[in-house]
Amino acid sequence: MSDRHPMFMPVIVFGGLLFGFGLGYSNMAQPEVVLDFLQFTDFGLLFVMFGAAIVTGVVFAVATRSNRTAPLTGDTYTRRLKSFDRNVLIGGSIFGVGWGLSGICPGAAFASVGVGNYPILVAIAGMFIGAYIQGVWRSTKAEQAANAVNAD
């Protein structure tokens, strides 16, 4: 960690500032606006998600074809490709129910704190509790699986 490039953290900060500024600008920090989308009264959210995805899509495509490595880490540029299994459907469904109930997701929740929306701290606390519950459950499951292998 100490051998990180001195510009590593400043770049993370700059990226985070832009990310948060954009979530504020697009009103995604307001759960009401997200709920308006999910209830079909304002479809603007599509422009936020796909507008952002077009930017990342172009940048990812150019960078992965460039044969260059990231200047601050020396890492190769890759795309975000996760393996598919039923967890994507199960987790995605649970996430969707939560998102539809509250109108808030993790990035927008952080941005919401920035616009002064202190009640959102209740949602963030909920997210940590939820992440903790699945962490305990999956850690236990992983340990049981490891024990079962050892027992064989």
């Binding site: 770049v11 993370i12 900060v13 990226g15 985070g16 990310f19 948060g20 954009g22 504020g24 600008y25 697009s26 009103n27 307001q30 709920l35 304002d42 603007g44 959210l45 599509l46 422009f47 936020v48 796909f50 952002a52 995805a53 990342t56 940048v59 990812f60 490595t69 190769t76 540029y77 975000r80 967890n87 994507v88 987790g91 995605g92 996430f95 969707g96 939560g98 998102w99 539809g100 109930l101 509250s102 808030i104 993790p106 990035g107 952080f110 920035g114 616009v115 929306n117 959102i120 949602a123 909920g126 997210m127 509790i129 939820g130 903790y132 699945q134 962490g135 305990v136 999956r138 992983a142």
Partner: protein
Amino acid sequence: MLSTTAAIGLLQTGVIETLFPNGIGQYAIGGLFVGLGVAVIYLGTGIIAGASTTLESTLSYVSGQSRFQKYRLSRDWRIVFALSTVVGAAFWALLFQDGIWTTDVQLWRLFLGGVLVGIGTRIGKGCTSGHGVCGVGSVSRTSLVGVVTFLITAIATAQIVMAFGVVP
């Protein structure tokens, strides 16, 4: 036939106003900034930053559960990223918002929704930024399926909640 073009024109004006009563400018421009934030970090470091991993990586500071330990190496910059998101939105609020803004969505919805978001995003391998922005930008089939899945259940949930007269 003769008025097809005119009809389409009329329809479009009405449709656009109905679908986007607040216009599309702030959404598209905000989305570009969100994408640029991800792009800056990616071009500098090769890291594809999603927001929801921060939940687990931060829990590794206070919990010894094995599930969280794989995030130990990234947990410091992930907190920095989350805090910068807060500050970035605060910059926006200082420039464009009159004072602080608070939601009217009921606290039980925020809390229960938050718990489900926390569970679901980690099991489902991503959230609206991880799957929605970074995964779709990667043309990842897994993420496209993830996005469609959470859009369907989110729309269904929000519609049911509205049908029960819970506002907001």
